[in-house]
């Protein structure tokens, strides 16, 4: 069942190639992608709640990305002007795009359904391989530069995580764990380690650094703004909304194992300061951005930092806040990138200085304003609720210094998003074709994601935690 669920998205991406191009193939893509998105329900009884939440997030957002990309005219002006030209690289073809999108989706499901670090590592590694060409999809010089940095830096990070994983296996094997379960978090968590075994701390440190590279935490974040800003908008939405979430999930699993091995405080403290520094650095860099997609990419670094900060508090409420923030941010960031994709399609640019009057230009402009407000943690959006939960968790844990740094960073990020929102939304409507012509289907897709993020705030928030 697990293998079927993981491979279903890839199969759903490849099978439509058997049909003639045009409407039949487009319809088949959406129908099969919907089937692949529903398949994980078969695993509902086999996964723990956190893994199940990640599986559902992956499936929902990946399906929406496929639906967004399938829209008529998406490849004519948006992100891929060189599609179909003889000089374009082989990966700048629509069929290759969807095949890679399916592979990316499958790789993320592999991460979310893994029960051992070897499966998780293989999934994280496969996401890099599947998305390198997606980042380079446009085929122009800057996209290739972004893809190269992404491939090299993430591969180094993954190699570091592999080294940590192998050292972890060395430690657990020496402690008497069976070879087949040496990297299973359940098996490691089920054993009582009186004191941290030799090498355990180094193994945990290497795994944290490796997976933090994939999560885009400072100072290993250099690849993220480039890759997320140069990829096509739906891919950027997945990279920011889901792939970073998968890496944060890997960090959470590492912290779990570190706790079992007796070096939990070390892992939590490391994540706490990774998170606090990431929030402030990303927020300061958001102030100087001149491109909407790059601004959103740095916002992803900031939000990954918030989740890491919450994990670093080391309390159940902190862990819950981190999970809730990952879900709320994932849905919101995907909606934001979809909205920017619509703006880019209509206006032909994402340069903040060249955009104005989007509020009057159509539904996409309003969706973008909602997404920027949501990312700035304005109520009633999901991110507001999750950041509030993070602050409460930090206060209850008594981690005032890291929390203060984080809150200052959040305030700076809010001001950067507010300033950008005013710049692009206010003023006279652009003379270019109105944004409503971009297709209400796309707008409703983004709005549905945003609404889900908002709904998460009211449905999932553990209000009883505040009462206590």
């Amino acid at each position: 069942v697990n293998a079927f669920v993981v491979t279903a998205p890839l199969a759903a991406a490849l099978l439509p190639l058997l049909l003639p191009a045009g409407t039949p193939r487009r319809c088949a893509r959406i129908v099969l992608a919907a089937g692949a998105a529903l398949a994980p329900l078969l695993l509902a009884d086999m996964l723990d709640r956190v893994a199940l939440a990640l599986v559902l997030l992956v499936s929902l957002l990946a399906f929406l990305a496929v639906a967004f990309s399938t829209g008529r005219g998406f490849f004519s002006r948006l992100d891929g002007d060189r599609v179909g030209e003889p000089t374009a690289p082989v990966w700048s073809r629509v069929s290759v795009y969807f095949a890679l999108l399916g592979a990316f989706w499958s790789a993320m499901l592999l991460v979310a359904t893994a029960t051992t670090f070897s499966g998780l590592w293989l999934g994280i590694s496969a996401t890099t391989l599947a998305t390198a060409f997606l980042v380079a999809f446009a085929g122009e010089s800057l996209a290739l530069e972004a893809a190269w940095k992404y491939l090299i830096l993430c591969s180094v990070g993954i190699a570091v995580a592999l080294a940590g994983m192998l050292l972890l296996a060395h430690v657990t094997l020496a402690a008497g764990v069976a070879p087949s379960a040496a990297l299973s978090w359940d098996a490691i968590g089920g054993r009582a380690f009186a004191a941290a075994p030799a090498g355990a701390r180094l193994a945990v440190a290497l795994m944290l650094v490796g997976f933090a590279t994939k999560a885009g935490l400072v100072p290993m974040h250099a690849w993220l703004p480039d890759a997320h800003s140069k990829a096509p908008a739906p891919v950027s939405g997945l990279l920011s909304g889901v792939l970073v979430s998968c890496a944060l999930y890997a960090l959470w699993r590492t912290v779990q194992v570190a706790t079992a091995l007796g070096c939990g405080p070390f892992a939590r403290e490391t994540l706490l300061w990774f998170g606090a520094v990431s929030i402030v650095v990303a927020a300061l860099l958001m102030l100087v951005q001149t491109d909407l997609k790059r601004l959103l990419a740095y916002s992803t670094v900031e939000h990954a930092g918030i989740a890491a900060l919450a994990l670093g508090f080391g309390t159940p409420l902190g862990d819950l806040a981190a999970l809730f923030h990952v879900l709320a941010h994932g849905t919101t960031k995907a909606a934001a990138f979809f909205a920017v994709g619509l703006v880019q399609r209509a206006a032909g640019t994402t340069a903040i200085g060249e955009l104005h009057g989007l509020w009057r230009a159509g539904a996409a402009g309003r969706l973008l304003l909602g997404a920027l407000g949501a990312l700035g943690a304005m109520p009633p959006f999901g991110v507001f609720a999750s950041e509030l939960l993070v602050v409460v968790a930090g206060a209850l844990a008594g981690r005032w210094a890291a929390l203060a740094i984080g809150v200052v960073g959040m305030a700076i990020a809010f001001s950067a998003l507010a300033r950008t929102a005013i710049a692009v939304e206010a003023g006279a409507a652009p003379t270019a074709r109105p944004l409503t012509s971009a297709g209400l289907r796309f707008v409703s897709t983004g709005a549905a994601v945003l609404a889900l993020g908002c709904a998460l705030a009211t449905v999932l928030l553990p209000w009883s935690a505040f009462a206590r």
Binding site: A147, L151, L162, A163
Partner: protein, 120 residues
């Protein structure tokens, strides 16, 4: 690349004698851990060389060293992990070569310094 008139300017940031000296020093320091020496070579290549192909080879060396190290310290691990790491290295190499080929159309010297337009 070798026939390009400006290729001579693409020298590694450390001269050959110094690189050899460092390699010998690293080999002596890791005499009992050959896999660690391979990892050090990979990291050194990534830091010193300016050519994209050299960086790709460095990545392969780094991955190979770590896999070897794993085989030494945890020999009882299932072989699927080594197979996964090998698969990752092979596919990553092909993707890297495809990207290098496309980059060469814009930057024939394949100088890593030419890939610094995206900043800030």
């Amino acid at each position: 690349l070798r026939t390009h008139p400006e290729a001579r300017a693409l020298r590694p940031s450390l001269g050959l004698p110094l690189r050899l000296l460092l390699a010998v020093g690293a080999a002596a320091a890791t005499a009992n851990e050959p896999a660690v020496f391979v990892v050090a070579c990979g990291v050194g290549m990534l830091l010193v060389h300016r050519n994209l192909i050299a960086h790709l080879i460095a990545l392969l060396v780094l991955g190979t060293g770590i896999t070897l190290w794993g085989a030494v310290i945890a020999p009882a691990l299932p072989e699927s992990i080594e197979l996964g790491a090998t698969f990752d290295a092979v596919v990553g190499t092909f993707i890297g070569l495809a990207l290098i080929r496309a980059v060469a159309a814009h930057h024939p010297l394949l100088d890593v310094e030419s890939l610094r337009s995206l900043r800030g």
